[in-house]
Symmetry: C2
Subunit: 205 residues, 2 copies
């Protein structure tokens, strides 16, 4: 790891302010222009840096947008509201609020589309965005089992499969609702969704 300021290196250090300015400018450009019309030259101008500086830090548009969008998902936290249903509703509403932002919509789906043909990009998305979300599922599940709201898992392989399934169902449903159906994942929808999901998990075990 020698990312931001390697500390043990000679020479002029990279400006950390430039990094945050570039990522902010990228999100701004995503809002104004969308994915396809976003150009790196435009982002550099918005950020107040030279185009060459941008290319020295990111290999291309895909990687840049992944990092810019990833910061949006940093705010995701697992709330402790006392019951599993309330916890799920809380985290899903957070997720929906992020996805409602235009820079998240256009940026995230575009890089996912590109990742179908670029393994390195898919791995970058997984590490910086997806895994953080999946972790919430695992934590919430463990907490619910400690509360006795869900039966404890004996087979760890089976537990992993179930966690993957829950994750795909939750994230997929919210994304589909927001982007494809183009309707808001508001409290009413989240309540209905959570009810179906919880009853399904409880009954299927």
């Amino acid at each position: 790891m020698q990312s931001s300021t390697p500390a043990g290196r000679a020479g002029r250090p990279r400006s950390a302010a430039a990094d945050t300015a570039i990522l902010a400018a990228t999100r701004e450009a995503l809002v104004d222009l969308g994915w396809s019309k976003l150009t790196l030259g435009d982002v550099a101008m918005r950020a107040g840096v030279a185009k060459t500086t941008l290319y020295r830090r990111w290999s291309g548009k895909n990687e840049l947008v992944v990092d810019a969008v990833a910061e949006l998902f940093d705010q995701l936290r697992l709330p402790d509201r006392g019951t599993l249903a309330a916890d799920i509703e809380g985290v899903v509403l957070q997720f929906a609020a992020i996805l409602a932002r235009p820079e998240a919509k256009s940026g995230l789906m575009a890089v996912v589309a590109e990742s179908t043909r670029d393994d390195a990009l898919r791995e970058r998305i997984r590490a910086s965005i997806v895994d953080r979300q999946k972790r919430l599922v695992v934590e919430g599940r463990a907490r619910a089992q400690a509360r006795g709201e869900l039966p404890p898992e004996t087979d760890p392989a089976e537990a992993a499969r179930t966690a993957d399934l829950i994750f795909d169902v939750v994230a997929g449903a919210v994304v589909h609702r927001t982007l494809v159906s183009a309707e808001p994942a508001d409290e009413e929808w989240v309540r209905g969704f959570t009810r179906v999901l919880l009853h399904g998990l409880a009954s299927a075990a």
Copy 2:
């Protein structure tokens, strides 16, 4: 409607063969190049038509890819396997098989991403791709109610909301599994998913 051969018009009619050649070439280019590197000039060359011909029929890359991908989903049929669970598994497996194709992955997600900033494009996607899928949900649900596997709906507004929810959950989960998690939605996964969904729907009612 005066699409393919208006029949009541003078002059040379549009070549229907060119249409199919262009759409097939578009899918081929999606496989070879992916969305971002796909150019209309390349598609025209693959289809054996002039670039100008392509621009006379489609206003841009987005619309062309929507039509090319929409044809993939024409094969979707609701099977009659006797039980709701088997019907769902059948149609979900079909959906997963289509989404497993590289031209569907990269093309569909890319146009959905673009549609977040283009209402006309979103409407085109809805009419030619999404509505056809949603119809399967409505039909399958009606059939299950006729069989007595699901309680009949009294409130039509509530029924519409439930159908929308089911649709977002099913389509969203399969898409997320295939594209984001990048794992196959095979029979084992579909069985587990269907079990959770059905128990959720039955218990929540």
